[in-house]
Symmetry: C2
Subunit: 354 residues, 2 copies
């Protein structure tokens, strides 16, 4: 490696995704020069450990990006919308995990296993990382697309509560404490009554002993914003603006790792043995598919790991061009921090080669 | 009402579905004459309350069916396979909730809202009730089929642990007690390790803080028996032997009430306003569909109620012949005991009219 090691800013260092990012930076400790941790004034001043060193968290401001080569934004949409252009104007390459720029034509939406070269054209100085639900399936689907030619996706999600950050995890933990050891879950509304009105949950219904078929905001036509995000982001990452994509997004009482039941239809007929071979050799994918022996991915086993895990791969009985599969990916790692880190590392090479 | 009130036997009175059946019998107290409660010798001798009266549970034997007009079987497949023909040979009409006879050409598979007349032709003296997952969606789908002409179903389930009876509920309760109040669910295998090896769970993976994409046994080609059951039972109940049906069955940490994400494609174009009208007026269906206002069905609200609840109804953006929807039904009520009771009551009329 020649040239200098670029400097990095992590905006949102104190959040759920920020915490995972610090682990990843510690594991990939040789990529970056200075690492600056940044958060809102509310949580700034704390000390966090990264690469084995206690590091003070700085408050978000215009000056804080001085001398920063690459800035990672792991913050809510409105914070990115305001501050990412500030960091970019100061000369940093921004890698943004929020939804603020994902569908902007002048911002590439990058999954390094699928469209790595898209990172080079970034007229606004900003690169976006997809939604965690898109990321939980796109690596596996992209590998099959390259072999068989994707035509349609029909997906149902089993989303972890950390999709709503620390607040989502706290809501599940608090609700579980109230329902564990009870006989709740057998009478209409008993869980809802036990949780009471003081509940500060970000979910639209109880999430302990329940599933919640609504994620995000009202996007019209009965669709949630999360469902349309999967559609538009899959199209953009795969470069297929007319791809058919239907999603139903449902939260489940799982801390971390999103799962998806996927019906994928292709231009070519799909042989399951060949699909297995493609998935077994695809970068970033683990094939774990011997269900009668208990080998299928579940969040409890996948959480904390980097790859997308795929199992339950089977030929549709009604359509030789379609397969069903069950996919799990850690929404805080590949679904967020890891993909952002991968994008940032691909940008870092630009600095090390100068 | 003329004629006599028929006598009833409830086989499996001490099980999870049996318990719900006793509630239903108490609510519909005027239909039956004598009600005889029957269970395996292991649990026989206990007293259970039905229609306000403590009633001793009798041990399953050939003689116990003497004088019984209608016998409900709420027991595992192998018990039904052995004993239902015994009860039928003694003259009782058997209504069986197990899988033992569901796909037998000489046994009707009945959902009273959809194919009530099928109950009359029963050459073996046995009428079968579908699987709880089939029942959680078929009433809503059947209503739309009558209007639009069904062609294909692609469904993903969010199944409650009581699909595995008392053992399933006990496993979830025990696992929740171990994980509530912990920070588990964030590291690979941490939930699995916390549950230990002594786990007597009927599930193939942890079910607390997890989802388990495997239900039933290995049916070949990567499919689970539950997934093929949905396919074959939907075809039989709807009288459409070539209907395209693809299912992915997944257990979630919910006590009771199965949910399904449903992609349904029809012969005719589907107008969502018309679909709403059909569902709002269909017997046995509640339309609950204003998601931006928080109105969508969830297990916590649906559990303990009789109807199939439908929400998240929306037109496919890629196919004017398809709709998406989210359906919830209590797997112990309409999914089991209630459908059996409805079938039995339709048989009871044959006795009251003689």
């Amino acid at each position: 490696m020649t040239g200098r090691r670029p400097s990095l800013a992590v905006v949102g260092a104190t959040g759920a995704i920020g915490g995972v990012m610090l682990q990843i930076l510690s594991q990939h400790a040789d990529v970056w020069g200075e690492v600056r941790l940044i958060a809102s004034p509310r949580t700034a001043g704390a000390e966090l450990v990264v690469r084995g060193e206690a590091t003070e968290v700085l408050a978000l401001s215009e000056d804080v990006f001085d001398g920063v080569d690459v800035a990672l934004f792991l913050v809510p949409d409105e914070v990115s919308a305001q501050w990412a252009p500030v960091a970019a104007a100061g000369g940093a390459v921004v890698v943004d995990d929020s939804a603020a720029f994902r569908l902007d034509d002048d911002v590439p939406l990058v999954v390094p296993e699928i469209n790595p070269h898209a990172v080079r054209r970034r007229p606004r100085g900003i690169v976006a990382s997809p939604n965690c639900t898109t990321l939980s399936l796109i690596v596996a689907v992209g590998a099959l697309h390259a072999e068989f030619g994707l035509r349609e996706l029909i997906v149902s999600s089993y989303q972890a509560v950390s999709g709503e950050g620390h607040d989502g995890v706290a809501a599940l933990r608090e609700q579980l404490a109230l329902v564990a050891g009870t006989e709740l879950g057998t009478r209409p509304g008993d869980v809802r009554r036990a949780l009471g009105d003081g509940d500060k949950s970000p979910f639209a219904a109880p999430v302990a002993l329940n599933v919640v078929p609504w994620a995000g905001t009202d996007a019209g036509g009965g669709w949630s914003s999360e469902e349309l995000a999967i559609r538009e982001e899959c199209r953009k990452v795969l470069g297929m603006p007319d791809l058919k994509v239907t999603a139903t997004c449902v939260y489940v009482p799982v801390v971390a790792t999103h799962s998806m039941s996927v019906h994928a239809r292709f231009e070519n007929e799909v042989d399951v043995a060949k699909a297995h071979e493609v998935l077994a050799t695809a970068p970033g994918v683990v094939l774990f598919d011997s269900p009668a022996a208990g080998d299928f991915p579940t969040p409890a086993d996948v959480v904390g790991t980097d790859p997308t895990w795929v199992g339950r791969v089977r030929q549709s009985m009604d359509d030789p061009h379609a397969v069903e599969m069950f996919v799990c990916g850690d929404n805080l790692r590949k679904g967020a921090a890891l993909n952002v880190a991968q994008i940032a590392e691909s940008v870092a090479w630009e600095f090390t080669r100068t």
